[in-house]
């Protein structure tokens, strides 16, 4: 009844091009932003931040990144874990080499480094397509993890082979290290996520986004109508890896604090992020959020219900989680290939006409 576009006329193409053309959506968006920036930071404690908010924010960035590559440009990548590792190790090297520079700058630079690596591993996409490419990106995954594991320069020759995030600040507030306040790390990641989401949205609604989608939908036709596949694909790899690199940097620096590469950025991480965008919705920024939220909350929920509630052993709950996630992936691919985002869209379509559908 309140969700209406009737009467909400657009008089210019700028108005028609905005992200939330419907007034109600726009107000809701402002409300969410307000809550996220001005309400939640006062309410969160350590458990909420570490169990839910940080992983959600960080995985959302990774999911947006991967969604640009897979959902918008149609190039399936199984190397997300490896690229997150690049972000993590880049930020680690930067943090330790330039301790006086703001950590925020390090994170952005780490994204830039990852973008370059991403473009390198994206080069084969010009020759190979579909799951050939998907399998080829596994080369990135395995090679990068091996590299960070075996070449001591990357972990500063530490005896354990791990990397540990030293304490770093942004505007004088600690955001890494064990003593960082929950609200600070939350806000820090939130700012990055918000910026990434806005940039992703802007890119996908303009000509770059159309080039990506043209390549995704029909690459040969795209080339014949004037899309240069080289720049289109590589720009997708670059932007995608940039976001994934940022998420990797935050995952290591802010969230975990200490990382062993094979464990934190193994192939399972690649699949996890891929699953997020399949469940959330390919080719949808909102879907990236939804998928990340879903797969972050699911284990927490299972743990609370099964382990704390019913007293199951932890490993049993973990096995069940695997089955549920696998089953969901198959279910979504069969029933709703566009994921939660599509379910949401359908709900909105219905809501538009409610309560008089005819």
């Amino acid at each position: 009844m309140f969700y209406r576009e009737a009467g909400d006329f657009k008089t210019s193409y700028q108005d028609d091009n905005q992200t939330f053309p419907i007034k109600f959506d726009r107000y809701r968006y402002y409300a969410v932003l307000f809550a996220a920036f001005a309400v939640i930071p006062f309410l969160v404690n350590d458990y909420w931040v570490n169990a839910i908010f940080l992983p959600f924010l960080i995985y959302s960035i990774a999911a947006i990144g991967l969604n640009i590559l897979v959902g918008y440009c149609g190039q399936v990548s199984l190397g997300t874990g490896g690229f997150m590792a690049v972000g993590a190790y880049a930020v680690y090297k930067l943090m330790t080499a330039f301790p006086d520079v703001s950590f925020a700058i390090h994170v952005v630079l780490a994204g830039g480094v990852t973008a370059i690596v991403g473009v390198m591993f994206g080069l084969p996409s010009l020759r190979i397509k579909g799951f050939y490419l998907a399998v080829a990106t596994l080369a990135a995954q395995f090679f990068l993890v091996w590299l960070f594991n075996r070449v001591p320069w990357f972990y500063n020759y530490s005896a354990s082979g791990q990397i540990n995030a030293p304490v770093r600040t942004v505007f004088g507030v600690e955001v890494t290290g064990p003593t960082a306040e929950p609200w600070a790390v939350y806000l820090f990641c939130l700012v990055f996520l918000t910026l990434c989401a806005i940039i992703a949205r802007n890119l996908t609604r303009g000509s770059v986004g159309r080039k990506w989608m043209a390549i995704r939908d029909m690459d040969i036709a795209a080339e014949i109508i004037g899309v240069n596949p080289l720049t289109a694909k590589l720009s997708a790899f670059a932007v995608s890896s940039f976001f994934v690199g940022i998420s990797g940097a935050l995952f290591f620096g802010v969230y975990l604090g200490a990382v062993e590469v094979g464990e934190a950025f193994g192939i399972n991480k690649s699949f996890l992020v891929l699953f997020m965008i399949i469940i959330g919705g390919l080719g949808s920024i909102f879907g990236s959020f939804a998928g990340a939220a879903f797969l972050v909350l699911l284990p927490v929920l299972l743990k609370n219900v099964l382990v704390s509630g019913l007293g199951w052993p932890t490993d049993l709950a973990a096995h069940l989680e695997f089955m549920i996630v696998g089953g969901l992936i198959v279910t979504f691919l069969i029933l709703e290939p566009h994921g939660l985002a599509q379910l949401w869209r359908v709900a909105k379509e219905k809501l538009r006409l409610w309560p008089f559908p005819h």
């Binding site: 399998v135 699949f271 049993l316 089955m323 696998g326 198959v330 691919l333």
Partner: protein
């Protein structure tokens, strides 16, 4: 003869034998791909699942015992029997056929005509599901698998090579047996797909679903059949690998090794799978032997992929794949 060369030969032989096993796993992929266009990422997990089931059946484990105990508060673990390997293998095979039927019925029947990449992602989902299912049925602990295959150093080769080179090659009996079995299996599979009626039907389905349907080939039957054959291949691979290094999660990673084999050989080519397997097997062992120590070792993790990747950039259709002609 210089020592390095002799060591190199030993490495080469070991690589060749590893390559035959890769080829075997890769064949499982090729069969399903040729018949249904599905690139089955779950092949490795199927091998793990088959090996787990085999151990479970032979040891008389109660399936889902952890779950049952957790839900009902009981304390069941074993039926208290030990079955001979043959019965275990037959039972496991029956389970794999049942699984093939279920996979076809529940999943892929509903995905007919979808894009290959969607099917591929569905098999990743399937792999996750089966990994969880296997652990839940049989427990996630490392299990020992012994179906009576010979193990240990082959004395004859050791002594013969010592006589010739003054250095005894270390070649495991298990590897030799595995190589022979794999080679036989490869031969049977090739013969099956080339010379039997079912094999011909299978190739017809691969070529064109609609056309095959119209001449009276049952798609469902063919697909259940290839998934069963793939399940059988998975079982054999599971037995080999399980005997060698125990039944554990890492077993499912052999499938990941088969992927570059396929990229190298071309997804649709049986000879490609064999040659590709041998190249990767020998290549990664020799590379690790020659270059590995210089750059930190454990290069087997990525060598196959990078090799396949570089190769693909120059020849996107693989060694034996058909040339891709694009149309609009």
């Amino acid at each position: 003869m210089p020592d390095q060369l002799i060591f190199g030969m030993e490495v080469f032989l070991n690589g060749l034998m590893a390559g035959v096993l890769y080829a075997l796993v890769a064949l499982g992929f090729v069969l399903i791909y040729k018949a249904s266009g599905i690139f089955n990422y779950a092949q490795g997990v199927m091998a793990l699942f088959a090996a787990m089931t085999l151990v479970g059946v032979m040891e008389g484990q109660v399936p889902f015992s952890h779950l049952i105990n957790a839900v009902l508060g009981t304390d069941v673990h074993h039926f208290g029997w030990h079955l001979p390997a043959l019965i275990g293998i037959l039972t496991t095979m029956a389970v794999m056929v049942g699984l093939a039927w279920l996979v076809q019925k529940i999943i892929f029947k509903h995905l007919v005509g979808q894009e290959p990449i969607i099917l591929f992602m569905a098999t990743i989902g399937l792999a996750y599901f089966m990994e969880g299912l296997g652990d839940m049925m049989w427990g996630a602990d490392i299990k020992k698998l012994d179906v009576g295959l010979p193990q240990g150093i082959n004395i004859w080769i050791d002594e013969t090579t010592y006589g010739i080179f003054g250095y005894g090659f270390f070649i495991d009996n298990l590897d030799i047996v595995a190589t022979i079995i794999a080679a036989i299996l490869v031969a049977i599979l090739v013969a099956f797909s080339q010379y039997t009626k079912q094999g011909r039907a299978m190739r017809a389905v691969a070529d064109d679903h609609q056309a095959a349907l119209s001449v009276g080939v049952s798609l469902n039957f063919i697909w259940v059949m290839v998934w069963s054959v793939a399940g059988f291949v998975a079982l054999v691979a599971g037995i080999m690998w399980g005997t060698k290094s125990g039944v554990q999660f890492s077993l499912s990673l052999i499938a990941l090794k088969a992927l570059p084999v396929l990229m190298l050989g071309g997804f649709t080519s049986i000879p490609g799978a064999i040659v590709g397997g041998l190249i990767i097997g020998v290549g990664e062992k020799l590379f690790e032997f020659a270059v590995g120590p210089l750059i930190g070792g454990a290069t087997e993790n990525w060598f196959a992929y990078v090799l396949a990747l570089i190769f693909l950039v120059f020849r996107p259709q693989g060694l034996f794949g058909d040339k891709i002609i694009e149309r609009v």
